[in-house]
């Protein structure tokens, strides 16, 4: 597995060297955009509309638009300098119950593995969290962005969920026409509860597949293996053998062969004719 990040978890005085690995992968089917006429992958060109000029990557800087059309330029190393102070460390600041965190906060998942000499403190943290049933809330900087993160026990190891900061989670109140408290009849509520009861099952992730992706993949496979739908539209030539029989028969001088059975009979006849000819030549 590809290492995403190297650093350490620190809590209190303990420092655990770790590596992070992506725990999930996006299986979206990657398509490239091609020029329809010649099937060449198209090229995206960064241009400056003001200078009417294509730009190289070293000519491009980042700016923050603090007011319409007004930018402050932020150099890459300026950002890196800020991140440097805290980076390389997952700093556990609190321990909380997992149930305290609403799933809306969770962003991406990473597996945590021990780095060199990290195995023992890694195990220690895992065991301690397991017995307490708590998860650690930490701060981490990945790719120059600071994240809130939850460190928790997962199976026989540790993992980390990066989390949105509270101000990144929108308010439900902003959804229009959200109903206020209203009176509902006990009967209706009971029916709804019964329906839920009936549909209740154990969560089995293997039951769910991305059917659309599978359908697209099947289409792609069929095209690769030559069952191109364009070709499928074309019908096989069916009666060409009969057509050839008919054509060959129609090429024979009239009255010398029966057109219905051109093959065997003509073959014999021709043999006779060639032999006859040979005799004629010999004479």
């Amino acid at each position: 597995m590809h290492t995403m990040w190297k650093g350490s978890i620190s809590f209190g005085l303990v420092n655990i060297p770790i590596k992070l690995y992506s725990a999930t992968e996006n299986k979206d089917i990657k398509m490239r955009y091609l020029h329809e006429k010649c099937h060449t992958p198209i090229k995206y060109e960064k241009t400056c509309p003001n200078c009417e000029k294509a730009l190289e990557s070293d000519e491009i800087v980042r700016g923050y638009e603090y007011e319409d059309g007004k930018f402050v330029i932020i150099e890459r190393d300026e950002i890196e300098a800020l991140a440097q102070e805290k980076s390389k460390s997952v700093e556990i600041v609190d321990f909380v119950e997992l149930d305290d965190i609403d799933p809306v906060f969770f962003n991406r998942s990473y597996f945590i593995g021990p780095n060199d000499n990290g195995s023992k403190p890694y195990m220690l943290l895992k065991k301690a969290m397991e017995t307490s049933g708590r998860i650690g809330i930490a701060k981490i900087t990945i790719r120059s962005k600071e994240h809130l993160a939850a460190v928790r026990v997962y199976k026989n190891g540790l993992m980390m969920e990066t989390m949105y900061f509270p101000d990144e989670v929108r308010e439900l109140d902003h959804v229009p026409d959200l109903p206020e408290e209203m009176d509902l009849s006990d009967k209706e509520l009971k029916m709804a509860q019964q329906l839920i009861e009936q549909l209740t099952t154990e969560f089995d992730p293997s039951q769910y597949q991305d059917e659309r992706r599978e359908a697209i993949m099947a289409l792609i496979q069929s095209k690769i293996s030559g069952d191109d739908i364009k070709v499928v539209k074309e019908k096989p030539k069916k009666n060409v053998v009969d057509l050839m029989d008919a054509l060959q028969a129609s090429l024979e001088p009239t009255g010398t062969t029966e057109p219905s059975k051109p093959k065997k009979q003509e073959q014999k006849k021709k043999k006779v004719s060639v032999k006859k000819k040979k005799e004629k030549e010999a004479n």
Binding site: P236, V240, M244, L247, E252, P253, Q267, K271, S273
Partner: protein
């Protein structure tokens, strides 16, 4: 077995009237020789390019031939839905390279092998034996099936040619019954009489209507190795997939100047091409100023553009 270059007929304007010969249909397709060395059947075309995998239908030849080894000469042909020989359809098979495409081609676009001569039979070279004996070998020793057939020999060439004209087929080949098969040879013991003319020409320019190729500007090399304009043709019998394949090729070989020796340089509508694309063109006749009358592009073919010369005619 080393592949050989086949015997070629000379062009004749009239049907020979000599009684010592027979006439055969000149099937319009791809000349392919079949080589069987007791174990493997291999196929090579006239330019000695291997086509073994291209035409799996011919793998039945050894089981049809009462011979431990052989070299047969014949033409791969294909019929269109109307039952007419279609060079275009043969080329669509001839181009296939991938096994799955070929398998599909066998089903969608089956071909016939029209056998007309035998060069080696039962381990012996028979190319020096007179044609009449070689035809006998074929008739007695080679069984036919639905895709492998022996070309019929006709005594009356005039009659056959009139049937060919009526059907709009390519022509006939007259062969001297005493003639031997000259490997890599060309002699008047075989004479082809054509009903319509055809020629391989290079595409030196195209015009577009919108994004679609509209006309081809055709060229041939003259004796000084200069490209001469011989006329323009529409997209003719090409199918959409071939036109889009051509459009791709055009983007690869386009150039800013005309490859022709002489041409109106003010024609802004023409996309000039380096002469690399070869097409087979049928036409009625040559005009007095060395242009093709009623040229029709039949298909795209492979080959050396330098062979697209006036010497073909």
């Amino acid at each position: 077995m080393k592949p050989i270059k086949p015997f070629e007929p000379v062009t004749s304007a009239t049907v020979p009237s000599s009684p010592h010969g027979i006439s055969q249909v000149k099937w319009d397709g791809v000349r392919v020789l079949a080589y069987f060395d007791k174990q493997h059947l291999k196929l090579f075309n006239r330019s000695l390019n291997e086509r073994t995998a291209t035409y799996p239908e011919l793998q039945e030849l050894p089981s049809l031939a009462q011979s431990v080894s052989f070299i047969l000469d014949g033409e791969i042909v294909s019929l269109n839905e109307k039952g007419e020989p279609s060079f275009h359809d043969v080329m669509r098979r001839d181009r296939l390279k991938k096994a799955n495409q070929i398998a599909k081609g066998v089903e969608m676009n089956p071909i016939f092998y029209m056998v007309f001569d035998v060069i080696l039979w039962d381990g012996k070279w028979v190319n020096d034996r007179p044609l009449i004996e070689r035809l006998e070998i074929l008739e007695e020793g080679l069984n036919q099936n639905k895709s492998i057939r022996i070309v019929h020999s006709h005594e009356n060439g005039e009659q056959l040619f009139s049937v060919i004209k009526e059907k709009g087929m390519e022509g006939i080949v007259w062969k001297d019954l005493n003639s031997s098969y000259v490997i890599n040879g060309k002699s008047d013991s075989w004479k082809k009489v054509k009903n319509y003319q055809d020629i391989f020409a290079t595409v030196c320019g195209v015009t577009f209507r919108g994004n679609i190729i509209n006309t081809f500007l055709l060229g041939l090399y003259d004796s000084n190795n200069q490209l001469r304009y011989i006329g323009s043709a529409g997209t003719g019998k090409l199918k959409n997939d071939e036109i889009s394949r051509l459009s791709e090729m055009v983007t690869l070989v386009k150039q800013s100047t005309s490859p022709f020796l002489e041409f109106d340089p003010n024609r802004k509508d023409i996309v000039w091409l380096s002469p690399e694309i070869i097409v087979k063109v049928t036409y009625l006749e040559w005009t007095s100023d060395q242009r093709l009358r009623q040229p029709v592009v039949q298909t795209i073919t492979d080959g050396d553009p330098k062979t697209c010369s006036f010497q073909q005619t």
